[in-house]
């Protein structure tokens, strides 16, 4: 009898259902209000107003008509949205509390059969409660609750308010299904569900083509990732025979370790992760995803959804640990993405785009962590990253909220998100300024902050495994494993330096130096309302204290404190981690020196930023000259989007239009075969009719010729 059998864990189905109920209520309200607003919906008539805020962050239309619609419905949505999240968080905490400390086997709760086909593919709706899933549940519902509260203030007067909260609740529901799923198909439901909701939320202000394009692009790129997930599932099922995590974990021993099959499964799973977590080949959708509201970017594209890839690798650690080549690929992709995204981040002017590239880079770190087999380090970085990245986005949201209010009052059409229009906001937004500095220090990896502990643990684990692990023994594309891991370490360090650089650059341009918003706007620049600043403060606190979750050993603290997360996740990923390091706990050679190096690198990044950058020299966006040379390449993100567009999208569309449709379908099959045969018959008939001259003499001749032929036949016989 499983220890959790009778306990609160039985209610685990309530976790996704609660946000789902929120979605249903809010969805009904949003449909009800817009359904009865009638075709002449006032906000639709403001078509021209949208043009002013082309493509950028604009809580759609601050038109005066929104005020009267603050009917009770609006209040219901305000209550239902965050309440449902808090309840879910409470239930999560209850389950966390009810869980015994050393629960060896996960508690799998099966509800009803989903796709029972024959005896060899019993797919059921089943949730799995173990340390990993509870940890994810806690941090997902926690961060979501905070962001919901932030959204109440931020999206307050947007006409699509109910619809926004409906989608946000739906997102949390699907995320919980993803995290709690007990088998790959159930996880896949959550996997594509979050993809769907991110499509809906990115294209939230769908009346602007750029936003709708970004949404569709996100869904299709995610779908390419899901293709990998499907193929991985088919490979697992046809070789292992089951798709449940426990079943696959048990059955994977039968496959040849490190063999081509296992590596292919893991590589396809990696393709899925790159799609969802925006890594090298399929990261292009994340920067465009900034077209959605800022809280959405904070929640989905910083804290929760993008970490789904890391969760997948951690959850299938039993597969990855058995195929070192795949693990090395994960680590390499993570490292390359980290550096690549960091370089682009240097020259971005839009504050949200900059944070997007910083997210891509930070997820690269997580992939390094789980890639080298240090699953706990990777997950630890997931948690701490969600704290300070959410804080950065919400801070940016407060800044944009203020800027937008200012520009709105003076009816100017300046871009509320461009750093060149900001500057010197320290005086106007002191609280946000302090919190943003905390987040910047955390993300750069300055000691006492959360970022330092998780990033340092990842870097340490890379070096530990470079020295002695199954990864080091194997060759990756001809290069020995250890060399690859050292290269990964160097890339990671370079990434850390650049991270510190561009984060400090952001702080300097936004908060320090002279204000470039404009004289009359400054009057309206003021601190964000309490609803917005409360979550920011909470996240600030978490960014500072986040480190205590998994304090490193070299601090020689009392027993209970060090490595809390290690012990917590040991039953789930423990043996996979040990397998990678030849069954012995990895310890980093001369660890303190490495930590020192990391700190020096971080501080160097901040100092160079202060020295090199001169915020005073900046000019507002409207009269900034276009950048030249390598700077322009960085600003245009290495032209990767244009490259994809020209090599993949346009040729496929052109080929299918001119060749497949017009060529084969209309031309070959329809033209030649179908209409062609019809034309041939017509021709045949027409030539036949030529014989009917109407002259009797001609018919006589025909008869005579016939007689001659017959007689001829007789004579020859």
């Amino acid at each position: 009898m499983h220890p959790l059998a009778g306990s609160i864990a039985e209610l685990v189905w309530l976790l996704p259902i609660l946000p789902l109920i929120g979605f249903v209520i809010n969805g009904a309200i949003s449909l009800f209000t817009s359904f009865h607003a009638g075709p002449a919906d006032p906000s639709a008539a403001h078509g021209e107003h949208d043009v002013a805020h082309a493509g950028h962050e604009a809580p759609d239309t601050h038109d005066e008509h929104a005020a009267p619609k603050r009917a009770p419905l609006h209040a219901i949505v305000t209550i239902v949205g965050p309440l449902v999240l808090l309840l879910a968080f409470g239930l999560g905490v209850a389950i966390f509390v009810a869980m015994p400390s050393h629960m060896a086997t996960p508690f799998v709760k099966t509800f009803f059969a989903w796709m029972p086909v024959g005896t060899d593919l019993p797919i059921h709706w089943a949730f799995q409660v173990d340390q990993l899933s509870v940890m994810m549940v806690l941090f997902v519902t926690g961060v979501s609750a905070l962001i919901h509260i932030f959204s109440v203030g931020y999206m307050g007067d947007d006409p699509g308010y109910a619809r926004y909260f409906a989608f946000l609740n739906l997102f949390v529901a699907f995320m919980l299904v993803l995290v709690l799923g007990a088998s790959y198909p159930v996880m896949f439901v959550g996997w594509e569900g979050v993809g769907l909701v991110s499509y809906l939320l990115i294209g939230f202000w769908f009346n602007d083509k750029a936003n709708a394009d970004a949404g569709t692009k996100a869904f299709i790129v995610n779908r390419i990732g899901d293709f990998g997930f499907l193929i991985a599932m088919f490979l697992i099922w046809s070789n292992v025979g089951t798709l449940d995590f426990s079943g696959v974990a048990a059955g994977v021993g039968s496959l040849p370790a490190g063999g081509p099959l296992l590596t292919t499964i893991c590589l396809f799973m990696l393709l899925a992760c790159t799609g969802k977590s925006a890594q090298i080949p399929l990261y292009v959708w994340l920067p465009d995803a900034m077209a959605g509201p800022t809280p959405v970017s904070a929640l989905i594209h910083a804290a929760t959804m993008v970490t789904a890839g890391v969760y997948l690798v951690a959850r299938s650690s039993f597969l990855f640990s058995l195929s070192p080549v795949a693990c090395l690929t994960v680590a390499v992709i993570g490292a390359v993405t980290a550096l690549f995204a960091a370089t682009i981040g240097l020259k971005q002017w839009d504050i949200k785009k900059l944070l997007a590239y910083s997210t891509v880079s930070k997820i690269g770190y997580m992939f390094i962590g789980v890639g080298v087999g240090a699953y706990v380090a990777g997950l630890f970085h997931v948690i701490t990253h969600s704290f300070f990245k959410a804080l950065l986005f919400l801070g940016a949201g407060s800044v944009i909220f203020g800027m937008h209010a200012a520009y709105h009052h003076t009816h100017s059409t300046e871009d509320a998100q461009d750093m060149r229009n900001m500057g010197g906001l320290r005086a106007y937004m002191p609280l946000t300024f302090v919190m943003m500095w905390i987040a910047t220090l955390a993300i750069s990896g300055i000691p006492i902050f959360a970022g330092f502990f998780s990033k340092d643990e990842i870097l340490g684990s890379v070096i530990a495994r470079a020295a002695d692990s199954t990864l080091a023994d194997v060759h990756w594309l001809g290069i020995p494993g250890s060399a690859v891991l050292y290269a990964v370490y160097v890339l990671a360090l370079a990434g850390a330096f650049l991270t510190a650089l561009y984060m400090t650059r952001m702080m300097l341009y936004t908060f320090h130096g002279p204000n470039r918003t404009g004289v009359e706007e400054q009057a309206h620049l003021h601190e964000a309302p309490p609803l917005l600043t409360f979550p920011v403060v909470v996240l600030g606190v978490l960014s500072v204290l986040g480190g205590i979750i998994n304090l490193p050993a070299f601090l020689h603290l009392p027993a209970g404190w060090t490595g809390a997360l290690d012990q917590w996740l040991a039953p789930v990923v423990g043996d996979a981690t040990l397998h990678v390091t030849h069954g012995v706990a990895a310890e980093t050679p001369h660890e303190v020196a490495l930590v020192g190096l990391a700190i020096v690198v971080a501080i160097a990044g901040i100092v160079t930023a202060f020295v090199k950058l001169k915020p005073a020299a900046l000019v507002p966006k409207r009269d900034a000259q276009p950048a030249t040379g390598f700077e322009r390449v960085l600003e245009n993100k290495y032209y990767v989007d244009e490259l994809y567009d020209r090599t993949v999208v346009t040729p496929v569309v052109a080929v299918s239009r001119s060749f497949l449709w017009k060529g084969i379908d209309a031309g070959l099959i329809d033209g030649v075969l179908v209409n062609g045969s019809a034309w041939f018959m017509r021709g045949l008939a027409r030539s036949g009719s030529w014989l009917q001259t109407g002259q009797v003499g001609a018919y006589a001749w025909a008869i005579v010729i016939g007689v001659l032929a017959v007689l001829g036949a007789f004579t020859l016989r």
Partner: protein
């Protein structure tokens, strides 16, 4: 009456006159002249029938064919006053005529090739006292009774058809 010389002579005489008059008939431009030459061919044929022990048919030939059908032809020619030759010759161009001749000769050659088979001996002549129509009665009214009845229907239909077609629309 054995096939004496006189019999053969007469047979050839009538045969050749039939052919010559048929040839002339084909070349006459005047319809009436052509009709009369055809009547002459028919008379020669009637003679041949009689010489080949088909006296009744010979009589019918003269009576029905030459007498009735050709008279109708002449009657129609007179009705449509085609007597005088038309301004434009109704014979086709020289080229067409040559081709027609060639086709005719080819057909003749094929027929003659086919005719080279060995024919059985002739039947004995009818004894003098039997009446001319007895040999026909048995096949006509017993084996071929149905065709005989059908021809009567055919003739009825032809009469009605001819009247309807030729009647002047009111």
């Amino acid at each position: 009456m054995p096939n004496g010389f006189v019999y053969e002579f007469l047979f050839y005489l009538f045969g050749l006159t039939a052919i010559v008059s048929a040839a002339i008939f084909v070349t006459r431009r005047n319809a009436v002249a052509a009709a009369l030459w055809l009547v002459n061919t028919m008379f020669c044929l009637a003679a041949l029938y009689i010489m080949m022990d088909a006296q009744f048919v010979g009589a019918i030939q003269v009576l029905v064919y030459a007498g009735a059908i050709m008279v109708v032809f002449l009657f129609v020619v007179m009705l449509l006053n085609l007597g005088l030759p038309p301004s434009v010759a109704d014979i086709k161009s020289k080229g067409a005529r040559i081709i027609a001749l060639v086709a005719g000769l080819a057909m003749l050659a094929e027929l003659l090739v086919l005719a080279r088979q060995k024919l059985p001996a002739e039947l004995p002549w009818l004894p003098r006292e039997t009446s001319v129509t007895t040999p026909i009665t048995e096949p006509l009214f017993r084996t071929y009774l149905l065709p005989f009845e059908i021809t009567s229907v055919l003739l009825l239909v032809a009469i009605v058809g001819a009247v309807v077609l030729a009647k002047r629309r009111s």
